[in-house]
């Protein structure tokens, strides 16, 4: 299966570390010279850029956070003058204010390269017809994959965020073989197909690359089953734009594009570097970005890194699929956990649809966790005994996993879907 860039995707660990050290030093030198924020930060801590003598020295440097990017809105974090910035994208900024990312010509070339690597990894080549349904607007992803697919030589249709009927019509009429977009919208497209009785076997669809937000194995299985494709994951940050890591055909972790990004895993509470294999917060340092270099950027995504070789031939380290966000952490009865842990338990319960609500409340001095999970109509219509057994199983599993006993309530799919506003799972914390 296509390794787009054999030279850099198959370097020995030694060679890769040399490339990373060179690019890290160059990046830190440029950032110190050109970005007031970094000059201030380093001067304050009494660190000079030349103190990075090895990759290990990076852990002595301070972190950069999303707040720093937000405070620099719009252009303060740029390392080049605006006249060299040829593209500007912004993140959506719902919970937070938006962050702005600029790209020089070379940044765009690199972005295209990484998109090409991501698509090639799942076997997309010049004979494919690719439908990109990421938005092509202020938010980045659509453009990168369009240009990446074009550089591979594939035929690209940028359908962007058009409605499901259009998406299905294009898939059918244009003989689309590959989809690129968000996983949740893929399910909407699947629903549209099912409602209009379009048989996936009648289409030319073969593969799909999905990302833009964390999505579970259960969702992958659903996409693969309903659209009859191989679905792979890639990881990106809205603050940076473009793939940072992507799955190969083995689907056993996402290969980090280590020649462009240096990845560290730290303990989200203490900031200490963790051993490979431990789950922690992903901290990224850009190695080739010109317009917006970021040093030790806290992504707030939880993952772990594996440096052992993958059978696909790439030597790039693999990160696990993102298993949560640091700011999603909930504390109930003194136990801290992530909604993704509960989601994983619910995914195992075959009668439960993956829509849920976690409602946390306090009665007197006690925290109460209530899990509302959607089930199909048949299950709700089942005997009371059967319903109670399912609720009981969920409760037992959660207690085993987290040590807390939740209240479990099954709910009708459509009601819960409207209660969650369409997202798979939401958390309602009623404690003030």
């Amino acid at each position: 299966m296509g390794i787009w860039n054999e030279k850099y995707e198959c370097l020995s660990r030694d060679e890769m570390q040399q490339v990373q050290l060179e690019r890290l030093q160059a990046t830190v030198n440029r950032a110190y010279e050109n970005v007031a924020f970094y000059k201030r930060l380093f001067d304050q801590m009494g660190i000079a850029p030349e103190e990075i003598r090895s990759l290990d020295d990076l852990s002595r440097f301070p972190f950069t956070t999303r707040e720093d990017l937000r405070d620099g809105y719009p252009y303060d974090m740029f390392a080049v003058s605006l006249r060299d910035v040829v593209r500007i994208h912004s993140s959506s900024g719902m919970k937070y204010a938006p962050t702005v990312c600029g790209y020089t010509k070379k940044d765009l070339v690199n972005w295209m390269e990484l998109a090409a690597r991501t698509l090639s990894a799942v076997g997309i080549d010049k004979d494919d017809v690719v439908q990109v349904y990421f938005g092509h607007g202020l938010f980045a992803e659509g453009f990168g994959f369009q240009h990446g697919a074009e550089s591979i030589g594939a035929s690209v249709i940028p359908v962007s965020e058009d409605g499901p009927e259009r998406q299905v019509a294009v898939m059918r009429d244009y003989k689309i073989s590959a989809l690129v977009g968000t996983p949740t919208y893929a399910l909407s497209i699947a629903e549209q197909m099912e409602e209009t009785k379009v048989d996936p076997h009648s289409l030319s669809l073969r593969v799909g690359v999905f990302g833009g937000a964390p999505w579970s194995e259960a969702v992958r299985a659903e996409i693969e089953k309903r659209l009859k494709i191989t679905a792979t994951d890639y990881y990106s940050l809205s603050e940076l734009g473009g793939p940072i890591s992507a799955e190969c055909e083995n689907k056993c972790g996402l290969h980090v594009f280590e020649d462009h990004f240096l990845a560290e895993i730290v303990d989200p509470k203490t900031g200490k570097l963790l051993e490979p294999g431990s789950v922690g917060e992903l901290v990224l340092t850009t190695l080739t970005r010109e317009a917006l270099p970021l040093i030790r950027y806290r992504t707030r995504n939880l993952t772990s890194i594996d440096y052992t070789r993958c059978s696909c031939g790439r030597t790039l380290a693999r990160m696990s699929r993102v298993c949560g966000r640091t700011d999603d952490m909930i504390v109930v009865q003194g136990v801290s956990f992530y909604p993704s842990q509960i989601e994983a338990i619910l995914a195992e319960m075959e009668c439960a649809e993956l829509y849920y609500r976690l409602i946390i409340d306090r009665e007197g001095s006690e925290d109460i966790l209530e899990i509302e999970v959607a089930v199909s109509g048949e299950v709700l219509g089942d005997t009371v005994g059967a319903i109670e057994r399912l609720e009981g199983r969920i409760c037992t599993q959660v207690r085993a996993e987290l040590g807390i006993s939740p209240l479990v309530r099954l709910a009708e799919l459509r009601t819960l879907k409207s209660a969650t506003g369409g997202s798979k799972g939401i958390v309602v914390d009623k404690r003030t």
Binding site: E33, E50, I52, R53, S54, K106
Partner: protein
Amino acid sequence: MLRVRSLVTHYGGIQALKGVSFHVSPGEIVALVGANGAGKTTILSTLCGIVPASSGEVVFDGKPILNMSPDKLVRRGLSQVPEGRQVFAPMTVSDNLILGAYHRRRTASREEIKADFDSVCQIFPRLFERLKQRAGTLSGGEQQMLAIGRALMSKPKMLLLDEPSVGLAPLVAKEIFEVIKRFREMGTTVLLVEQNARASLGIADRGYVLETGRITLEDNAAELLNDKEVQRAYLGKGYRHVWD
């Protein structure tokens, strides 16, 4: 072939190299570009053992060579063509060339050295025409060719070229660069240090940009050629039209 990590060199109290890292893979031509005083010659002098390094790591052909003496390095296959040619002026072209193979006098046969001599003459026909001439009477371009030819006679695995085009007329410099380009075909690895960024990036595979003792950019040569930062570092703002 050559791997350098965080090289630091001082001239007395002045830190000329502040942690420079780069590598050259076998068969590559890598260009190191930077303005006057950036530290390019210091890098070469440190690599060749002429100036001591304060810290860092240099691995050549798999072996650490930091602060090894110059003669040992030549024997290991690292040859430098120094800045300003520095041919042995009172000696003939022929003798200059043969001296380049001096350290091979016991390890190589006469036939081998003669064969190398002949191939250098093929690469530089002008030298062949002037074998009996004293090196000091050659033109600048011819002296540069002689200096390179002499280095080639040492049968190097890697050639370090320090500002080969400096002081030469543009057409002559172009000829020199054409010759260097052919080294790739001969399997010789080249590290090329140049102020003339455009010409050196034009023949190199990859390049590094050096500014006051620090590397600030690394990329494929073609990309660097088009990079605004590089253009600005050499010519300053407002001189972009001169570049073209």
